[in-house]
């Protein structure tokens, strides 16, 4: 009987296909669909957040500043280029926060995938002053992104993509001069070499400073950048020495205060499509920074070195499912030869991350990812992120995200004591990472063929925020004590009327509060408004007007009493006029109405500045 059952099953198994098969199926062959059905296939450039992707379907709230935006706005630095994005607060030419969270090491600055946050301080305040001559595009990802990028991707990411040799072919020279003895020259040369394309950029900048808090705030900087692409490799390197006074570092100013800084890097990337459904990417880079600060309150002589290697793979498991996985190894080292503190500090960070993107239907996709970091100094952290993106038939796109991120304590907090006037900030080597949990919903809708609108609502819960507390007398130290929440709404429109006129406007409401005390978080404005208009009546003229309103910002005075910085608005105007085929006249006036405003109490920002220049292009 048993044998009979086995035989019956065998017969069924082997004959089932024939039994179940219909007579000749004239139906559609899925492997060779009829040609018209190729036209109907839902096409979306699906990729993990680390690849070039279509912004509308990316599982994140992304704002992009293109090369065209940079040139029409007259932006001089990365900070100026991103200042009009809703939820991004930039002060002067330095420093930024995203949705009320930031100030240096809580935002990750990437350039072509290379971390540019300082090893010692975790910040990048000098980084935002980089010239834009070699920049193709800047992507600002708002919200925690540690699931892919680890530490520092706490409030968001500023991702700078440099120009490619093929898009910067030929020679471009842009020379500008303006008040405060400002001189700037930026030169780019791109070459199509057949199998290997190259790009070189040399920039110089100097001004005598705006004398905002003293007279030794002059700046001189030189930057050299080179890039070669070919055979799947991209090799780049750069050197940037700069000299400035100390307003952006802190400390007491004297006529003899000065700082010198030298940054250098070398970067190799390799990308290859092994098969249409399988690609690999790897990168290896080193980054060195040397900060030499001379100030009566104490000298700093800090040398940072970072070496990082990353490998990742992207695989299409099926038409609906894609998978990305990667590993990272990073070594950070700081050598501090300051007069106050001397020492060497090291950390090693090992990470692994995975992300899966599933197209549930043709209109809905789910993304889930997680990253685990193990740091030799502050321990481990695991950060997940999930998101859903739905494209409605009306063209409306709805996104929802949940994610966690962390920011590891920086070397300056862990290993260094700092003298600030009469006060002494004492290190705390037992600090833990800060954590944030975020939820967000974004809706974008094409109101008409020429107008898009967007709405974004978010809620961030921050824990273990590092705060400064008094310990005894004039000594302070750092502790993980703070809890805060930052909630907000961002509304925006973006439009284009023909090829002549493009415009945008956005409003951000931010409610950032210390959960322990109920006080508003310092320096976060509750409301900001940005608006811009670019008028391009032909090939020969571009005029841009950009304005920003920042509402009052809470702060405390030197005695610790609550106060607020008043609201302000500022307007920038830029113009580009073609004089001849290869020659443009550029002019810009920044803060045209001479708004007086401060980054923080006692830190006034730049007044009206004018720059006029000539840009020459030859192919």
């Amino acid at each position: 009987m048993k044998n009979a059952v086995v035989i019956l099953y065998a017969v069924l198994i082997f004959t089932a296909p024939a039994v179940l098969a219909q007579d000749e199926q004239p139906g559609v062959d899925e492997k060779n669909p009829p040609p018209e059905e190729l036209l109907f296939r839902n096409v979306s450039v699906v990729s993990a957040a680390k690849k070039v992707q279509q912004r509308s379907e990316a599982p994140a709230a992304i704002s992009v500043i293109t090369r065209q935006d940079i040139e029409s706005s007259g932006a001089r630095t990365i900070a100026e280029a991103i200042q009009f994005i809703a939820g991004v607060n930039v002060f002067g030419l330095q420093g930024a926060n995203i949705r009320g969270v930031g100030s240096g090491s809580r935002i990750l600055l990437l350039v072509d995938g290379r971390r540019c946050n300082d090893v010692f301080s975790g910040g990048f305040e000098d980084g935002l002053e980089r010239p834009l001559t070699k920049v193709e595009r800047i992507e600002v990802i708002k919200g925690p992104a540690s699931a892919l990028y680890g530490t520092n991707a706490f409030a968001g990411i500023i991702n700078v993509i440099t120009r490619r040799p093929l898009t910067a072919r030929g020679l471009e020279v842009h020379a500008r001069a303006g008040n405060f003895s400002t001189r700037a020259v930026e030169t780019t040369w791109g070459n199509d070499g057949g199998n290997v394309d190259t790009l070189f950029s040399l920039s110089g900048y100097s001004d005598r400073g705006h004398d905002l808090r003293g007279t030794n705030d002059d700046v001189r900087a030189l930057e050299f950048f080179g890039k070669a692409e070919g055979y799947g490799f991209t090799v780049s390197g750069g050197l940037r020495p700069s000299k400035r006074g100390v307003p952006n570092i802190g400390g007491n100013l004297t006529p003899t205060s000065s700082s010198r800084r030298t940054d250098s890097f070398g970067h190799v990337q390799y990308a290859r499509e092994l098969r249409p459904e399988w690609s690999v990417y790897s990168q290896l880079y080193f980054q060195r920074e040397h900060l030499d600060l001379r100030d009566p309150s104490g000298d700093l002589d800090i040398r940072d070195l970072r070496i990082e290697a990353e490998a990742r793979t992207h695989y299409r498991l099926s038409e609906r499912n894609e998978f990305t996985a990667g590993i990272e190894l990073r070594r950070d080292r700081t050598t501090d030869d300051s007069t106050a503190v001397q020492g060497r500090f090291r950390s090693t960070n090992k990470s692994i991350f995975v992300e899966d993107e599933l197209r549930v239907t043709n209109r809905v996709r789910l993304t889930a990812g997680v990253r685990a970091d193990d740091n030799s100094v502050f321990g481990s952290s695991v950060n997940p992120r999930v998101g859903v993106v739905a494209s409605l038939p009306t063209g409306t796109i709805v996104k929802g995200f949940y994610g966690r991120a962390f920011r590891g304590p920086d070397f300056v907090l862990l290993f260094t004591d700092i003298q600030l006037g009469v006060f002494r900030l004492v290190r705390n080597p037992n600090l833990k990472p800060e954590r944030v949990t975020s939820m967000e919903v974004e809706v974008t809708h094409p109101v008409s063929p020429w107008l898009d609108a967007s709405l974004n609502v978010y809620r961030n819960s921050l824990r273990d925020l590092i705060a400064v507390v008094f310990t005894s007398g004039t000594n302070l130290t750092y502790v993980n004590r703070g809890e805060a929440s930052a909630n907000g709404v961002e509304v925006g429109v973006h439009g284009q009327l023909g090829n002549e006129l493009s415009f945008f406007s956005n409003f951000a409401y931010q409610d950032a509060e210390d959960d322990t005390t109920g006080a508003s978080i310092a320096l976060v404005p509750s409301r900001t408004v940005n608006a811009g208009l670019t008028y391009r009546p032909g090939e020969t003229l571009t005029v841009g007007v950009f304005g920003k309103y920042v509402g009052p910002r809470p702060t405390t005075d030197l005695a610790g009493r609550p106060t607020s910085l008043p609201h302000y608005y500022k307007v920038d105007v830029s113009l580009t006029a073609r004089l001849r085929e290869n020659l443009d006249l550029t002019a810009a006036i920044y803060n045209i109405f001479d708004a007086v405003y401060e980054r923080s109490l006692g830190s006034p920002q730049y007044r009206t500045q004018a720059l006029i220049g000539l840009r020459y292009r030859a192919w």
Partner: protein, 350 residues
Amino acid sequence: MTRDRSVPLSSSVSLRSTSPCGQPGNAHHRGTEKPERNGAAKALFLLAALFIVSLAPTATAQTRSRIVILKNRNMEQFNLAAEGFKRGLQQAKIPVLIVEYTMTEGARELTAKINQFKPDLIAPLGSTAATFAREQFGHIPIVFAMVLYPSMSGIDPIKPPPNITGVSMDIPILRQFQTILSIVPRTRTIAVLYDPRQTGRVIEDAREAARAAGVELLAIQIRSEKDVPAAMQGLERRADVLWTVADSTVFTPATTEFIIVYAMQHDLPMMGLSAEFADGGALFALGQDFVDIGRAAAESAVRILAGTPPSALPISTPRKTSLIVNMRVAEEIGLRIPEDVIRKASRIIR
């Protein structure tokens, strides 16, 4: 029933005068009998006429045209064309009886069903449906729609089988190249990837169109999807624009993304196959109006049902097309779209 001539009912002409056997004047005249026979004949004639008239509505009800709509599958695009087809028939006030099938049923079963229905006309929507109809129903008029590259369905667009006509989805290649030139005026070389076994004939037509447009066509052959990455490598140096043909060897789900991403990353303007491609990252695309394609097919169907042979109606191309431009991609690759193109575009993606 026909009448040889129109004879007023009140006519006094006797029936005998129309008899082929009788001669005029041979009628029997029998004095008093003649008036009775004339009256009876008139009555009979009147009854017959009334009978014929009363039959007229019934005859009309039996002459509804029977039409089969046969779709590749139940897809939104085919459904839109079917809708347009039905609306076109409605507008022409043609009494019809329509049944719809999709190609997911078995061939034998489908053939039997259609034969049982005895259609006056078959409207296949899609290549698979058109091929099936051509092979199985050579004796029934066929008006196809939503077919791209009809030659791949065995339908020569210049000399189709005598029972077949229709509306293809092919936008004339010269028109496509002219659109490319309007968006990227510096174009000298247009590249295209293709499998000669699939779209070889399309490329032959494209070479002629390229000559007419004054550009060079760089047609790169591939044999399998694995050849796509190597074929794309360095294309941005050899061509100014990437044109696309609906070739299932070139455009698998994996290679489609690869091609679009490659083109974007290497600043190569790409003309997509359809609006979906423009949404997905191609710089621009031309789209068809599926409802109007169905409507145009209905117009041909009406004429065929009225007696025009299909061979007298040439295969036509879409009457309405739309231009979709992806401005984000344009910014990404550093391309300035001419103002008049922006004005003419049906949809701008930002």
